[in-house]
């Protein structure tokens, strides 16, 4: 008997057929298009509608963008050149870019100063943002950066930031010396040392007012996107520590401290930022000692910082609440005191959980800095609505200017949120 059934069956195939190609509709582009764009009739309609709208938008915007004119002196000249065809008048950007970025009063020849401060910001922020890739020594530069940036942007003698820095360092050294005896003694000693240093340093700074002095620029001359950036960076960095303190206060077992924090947070979160800016603009002056004259930018920084610290406090409270009770108990059973357990056990974990929330608050805050245009400060939006759209040359140029505002804000905010997602992945210590 043979293994093939040659005797009983008429024909038996004894070799494999070559593999056939899959049908054209099941491979490559065709399959992708069918699966992703036209899987059923309702999705097909949606796709066609979407393509139609995209076509409308692109076909409208493309000639407008391509016919754009970059080198005239006014809108009227743009219209003359365009002769009724669609086209953008980007000359407003080439002519007023400095006002949009730095405000209309910042001295032209000093633009390198805020620009340098902006570039150095990345160097200073790098060890905080990318702690695993940047050498830790750069942190010293980060500590110096606030003083350097102040000197670069506001100008004046370098002695003022140096005295401020020396005061803080002196206070810290005294605190460390006395902390061994008692925490309170260290704290008060440190504050006293800082105050004495500042008091004496004040005279020195006055006496040496020309030492390494840059031309001073008063706060009211700040404007444009630079103002948004200053407000955003300063307020976020100030509100983070305040927010942590408020969150801890709200979790505290001491009723009076807890209620002070609760009332502060809920009050600030219940009112719009604009009312707080009204407070900065018209009310805060009544509460300051008679004769003092804080400048507006400082008052605005105070109010925005209060505002964002309340929001950050709520985010961090969420992180604290999400920690299992065992973490608190473990810290206690190790014999750590309150400050140690918070600093070493609780806060690192709580902050890690709250990173996405903190970043959301930071992005929201940066966007909210444009609200200062309502109290007639000339930030980016204030510049557009005020001096530029009100000028005779550029009255009526809307799309180019608002497009510029979108182009300025979008990369910053989008970049920050992408960074936070990256950081979340980096900090994810769960093993799967």
């Amino acid at each position: 008997m043979s293994d093939t059934h040659a005797q009983s069956v008429a024909y038996v195939r004894d070799t494999m057929l070559p593999e056939a190609e899959p049908p054209a509709s099941e491979t490559g582009v065709v399959k992708w298009v069918r699966a992703n764009l036209f899987p059923d009739w309702i999705n097909s309609i949606l796709t066609i509608v979407a393509i139609y709208f995209l076509y409308k938008i692109v076909s409208g915007a493309w000639p407008w963008f391509m016919n754009g004119i970059w080198s005239t002196d006014s809108l009227a000249e743009c219209r003359e050149i365009l002769q009724g065809t669609t086209g953008a008048c980007f000359s407003v950007l080439t002519e007023r870019w400095n006002q949009l970025l730095f405000g209309f009063q910042y001295p032209n020849e000093q633009y390198w100063r805020p620009t340098l401060a902006f570039i150095l910001l990345f160097v200073a922020a790098a060890p905080l943002l990318f702690a695993m890739y940047v050498p830790r020594k750069v942190l010293y530069f980060t500590a110096l950066y606030p003083f350097l940036a102040f000197w670069l942007i506001w100008g004046g003698t370098i002695m003022v930031p140096i005295v401020a820095l020396v005061g803080i360092v002196a206070g810290y050294i005294v605190f460390k010396k006395l902390e061994g005896n008692s925490f309170a003694a260290g704290l008060f000693g440190g504050i006293a040392a800082a105050a004495i240093t500042w008091f004496i340093g004040g005279f020195i700074a006055d006496a040496m007012s020309n030492f390494l002095a840059l031309p001073a620029v008063p706060s009211r001359d700040m404007g444009g996107f630079m103002l948004n950036f200053i407000l955003g960076v300063v307020c976020v960095s100030l509100s983070l520590p305040i927010g942590i303190v408020l969150a801890l206060g709200r979790q505290s077992h001491m009723p009076i401290i807890k209620w002070i924090c609760v009332i502060f947070i809920e009050f600030i979160r219940g009112v719009p930022l604009i009312t707080l800016l009204f407070v900065a603009n018209v009310v805060l002056a009544y509460f300051l000692p008679p004769g003092t004259n804080f400048d507006l930018i400082l008052r605005v920084i105070i109010m925005i910082t209060m505002f964002s610290s309340a929001y950050i406090a709520e985010v961090i409270r969420g992180g604290l609440a999400a920690l299992p009770r065992g973490q608190y108990e473990a810290a206690d059973s190790l014999g750590l005191d309150y400050a140690q357990s918070m600093r070493l056990i609780i806060m690192p974990q709580a902050l890690k959980i709250s990173i996405p929330g903190i970043v959301n608050v930071a992005v929201g805050l940066f966007k909210d800095t444009v609200l200062v245009s309502v109290i007639s400060m000339f930030d980016l939006v204030g510049m557009i609505r005020g001096p530029i759209l009100a000028s005779t040359e550029w009255n009526g140029v809307y799309w180019e200017l608002w497009g510029f505002a979108v182009v300025m804000f979008f990369p910053v905010c989008y970049g920050i949120s992408q960074y936070s997602q990256w950081l979340e992945r980096q900090l994810n210590t769960e093993h799967r």
Binding site: A35, N36, N43, T47, L273, T275, Y286, P290, V374, F409
Partner: protein, 404 residues
């Protein structure tokens, strides 16, 4: 040999206040209290001396004085002889109007976009995520101003509706969308219309009773009663019958072009429309993300279990996914509503007379009473925020998972 049996005598020492955990918290609270009182006393004394120097005082009498300015968009009667208080109330109602319309629109757009971001369709998914990212990452004030500019530039002016071959025409002969605002037909209530409205409200109540009854019948006796068509019938038929029985008491007043502008009908100013629209699509981008996260939070096994029971996709969405996703979505949704309400204070940028425009704007500038106005303004917004979160929390508790 002697042993020490007595504990050391409990003598109170001053250092215990800071070193003994029993007393330390009292010390800290006492210090905090003193600091707080000192800060308030300092600010208060500054306030008193500043006010004395400026010859001012704190008084709310100005609220009873005539405001002397006009408000072009209002829900209640108001003229320039009305009081400042009345102006504030008009502004507050305008704020609530924008907040209500904006929340409604934002929810609808947000839910649709959130669901579409999870669609199988690649193009739709990409378009929706571009929309969400662009709107979330640019300040709302910029969007309000852009949309206001689009409204004024793109929509036709009332004069374009004039003439034989007009450039623009009214939708269905009764809706006009112009750069100055939208005009709608206005219902006029004649005598007897109260009966029609009462019948209509009663039939809505009837629908609820009927659906409750149907659900009970299903759960207790396993009896399926169709609810869709009877509900639709209940909704329309009694009201229409009453309308004709009472002799057609409700009529519509159509907007008409007279002279340079439309007359009659309901007029919603362009600032109201643009502000509502801008706030809605800005907030919708955030709501869409919440909705997407909520849907993704429902585990895949739920969908598969429902599919293996033989439910159709839309019933899986309605009966299994959404009720569970809702519990995740509602809390962030509440804070989005609050944000929208607070952002509505940006109305001042497009000249819509909301609370910030009346009380915090013209009234403040006319009377010069900054402290009182800003204080009242904050109290108004605080009340709104607390009310919205209270209402939404009640709703949140009703949809929350009932655990035993």
């Amino acid at each position: 040999m002697s042993t020490i049996t007595d504990p050391p005598s409990e003598s109170f020492q001053l250092s215990q206040l800071i070193n003994d955990t029993r007393y330390r918290s009292y010390t800290f609270q006492f210090i905090a209290m003193i600091l707080l009182i000192a800060a308030f006393a300092y600010l208060g004394s500054n306030l008193v001396s500043n006010l004395r120097a400026a010859g001012l005082n704190i008084s709310f009498d100005f609220l009873g004085e005539p405001a002397g300015y006009d408000i072009n968009q209002r829900l209640i009667e108001y003229d320039s002889q009305s009081t400042h208080w009345r102006a504030s109330v008009v502004g507050a109602l305008n704020t609530l109007l924008v907040a209500f319309l904006g929340c409604l629109m934002a929810t609808i757009i947000g839910v649709i976009v959130g669901v579409l971001r999870l669609s199988k369709n690649w193009l739709i998914r990409k378009v929706m995520s571009i929309y969400v990212e662009i709107f979330r990452n640019v300040p709302v004030l910029v969007w309000i101003l852009i949309i206001m500019a689009i409204f004024v530039a793109v929509l036709p002016q009332p004069r374009d509706f004039r003439g034989e071959d007009a450039e623009a025409s009214m939708l269905l002969g009764s809706f006009a969308f112009t750069g100055r605002g939208f005009y709608f037909p206005k219902p006029l209530f004649g005598p007897g219309s109260a009966v029609v409205i009462a019948v209509f409200l009663a039939s809505i109540a009837g629908i609820f009773v009927f659906r409750n009854y149907a659900r009970k019948a299903l759960f207790e006796r396993g009896q399926m009663i169709p609810t869709l068509w009877p509900s639709v019938g209940l909704f329309f038929i009694p009201a229409i019958l009453a309308y004709f029985v009472m002799g057609q008491p409700i009529s519509l007043e159509y907007p008409e072009l007279r002279g340079f502008n439309f007359q009659g009908g309901v007029y919603a100013r362009n600032s109201l429309i643009a502000l509502t629209f801008a706030l809605a699509i800005y907030t919708a981008a955030f709501i869409a993300e919440n909705v997407r996260a909520g849907i993704l939070a429902v585990s895949k096994g739920q969908t598969e279990a429902a599919a293996s029971l033989g439910l159709r996709p839309n019933r899986i969405m309605n009966l299994v996914i959404l009720p569970q996703a809702l519990r995740v979505i509602i809390p962030p949704l509440i804070s989005q509503y609050l944000n929208l309400t607070k952002n509505s204070s940006l109305a001042i940028a497009v000249g819509y007379m909301d609370l910030t425009g009346t009380l915090g704007g013209i009234t403040l500038n006319q009377t010069g009473r900054a402290i009182e106005c800003v204080l009242l303004l904050m109290l108004f917004y605080l009340t709104f925020s607390l009310c919205i979160s209270a209402i939404m929390n009640v709703y949140n508790n009703s949809v929350r998972l009932k655990e035993r």
